[in-house]
């Protein structure tokens, strides 16, 4: 590698390492707040998010290790995509189940002024089952 290219390459390495250090420092000093990292919309910890976090770390670390072992970027196995797909899909389905469903409740009440008349009152109530 010629000297200017080597210098440029090391500058890029220095730049990326600098960004990594800044991110780690900001997390350590709580400037980047991770309190809600695995929390859902209600503030409770989500298992799907936790699972996704764990898989991301395992696959990320594996990718780096295999890149160091081999000379080329490792090919991603179909099974890994399926594993991440299952995890992501269950998160998406869980989110859709969390969404409140509008249900129509129909109540019939007798009008006080006219005993023969009835008024149908439709109320839209929102019920949500969080998971």
């Amino acid at each position: 590698m010629t000297a200017p290219i080597t210098l440029l390459a090391y500058s890029v390495v220095l730049f990326i390492t600098g960004i990594e250090l800044v991110i780690l420092y900001q997390i350590a000093t709580n400037k980047i707040n991770l309190h809600q990292l695995i929390a859902d919309d209600h503030g409770d910890a989500s298992l799907s998010r936790f699972q996704f976090l764990l898989f991301t770390f395992v696959i990320g670390a594996g990718l780096l290790q295999l890149t160091l072992k081999g000379s080329a970027f490792p090919t991603i196995d179909e099974g890994i995509l399926m594993l991440l797909g299952i995890s992501g899909a269950s998160y998406a389905i869980g989110k859709s189940l969390d969404r409140p469903t509008p249900t129509t409740v129909t109540t019939t009440t007798a009008a006080t002024s006219d005993p023969t008349a009835t008024a149908v009152v439709s109320k839209r109530t929102e019920t949500g089952a969080a998971g």
Partner: protein, 114 residues
């Protein structure tokens, strides 16, 4: 001369990113243990408020799947991802499916009570 001292830029970069990832994983684990990252309600059933066995099995299945695949990567001698065992996929698919079914049933139950 620089390359002889520190390795090639690509190797230095890979080492740096790996160190970053491990440090990040350590920080997240430490914060999870301390409670700075909220793990409140991780195993709790949202409807009943009690500890859910279905959620516990999903947590265990996730831990088993992660550990076994990390071990498979460590044993790999070539720079290729090891194939994911179909039993591992079935384990994750099944445990996630169970949690979704439970949530759907809870939602149906909740809708009927209105």
């Amino acid at each position: 001369m620089t390359a002889a001292l520190f390795g090639t830029p690509a190797h230095v970069l890979l080492f740096s990113v790996r160190a970053f990832l491990y440090a990040l994983a350590a920080l997240v684990s430490y914060r999870l243990v301390l409670g700075t990252i909220s793990a409140r309600g991780l195993l709790r059933d949202r409807t009943t408020g009690a500890t859910s066995a279905v959620r516990l099995q999903m947590l265990i299945a996730t831990a088993i799947a992660s550990a076994s695949y990390a071990a498979a990567i460590r044993q790999q001698t070539t720079g290729v991802f090891p194939p994911v065992d179909t039993r591992l996929l079935a384990l994750i698919g099944g445990s996630n499916g169970l949690v979704i079914i439970q949530r759907a049933l809870n939602k149906l139950k909740g809708a009927r009570q209105v």
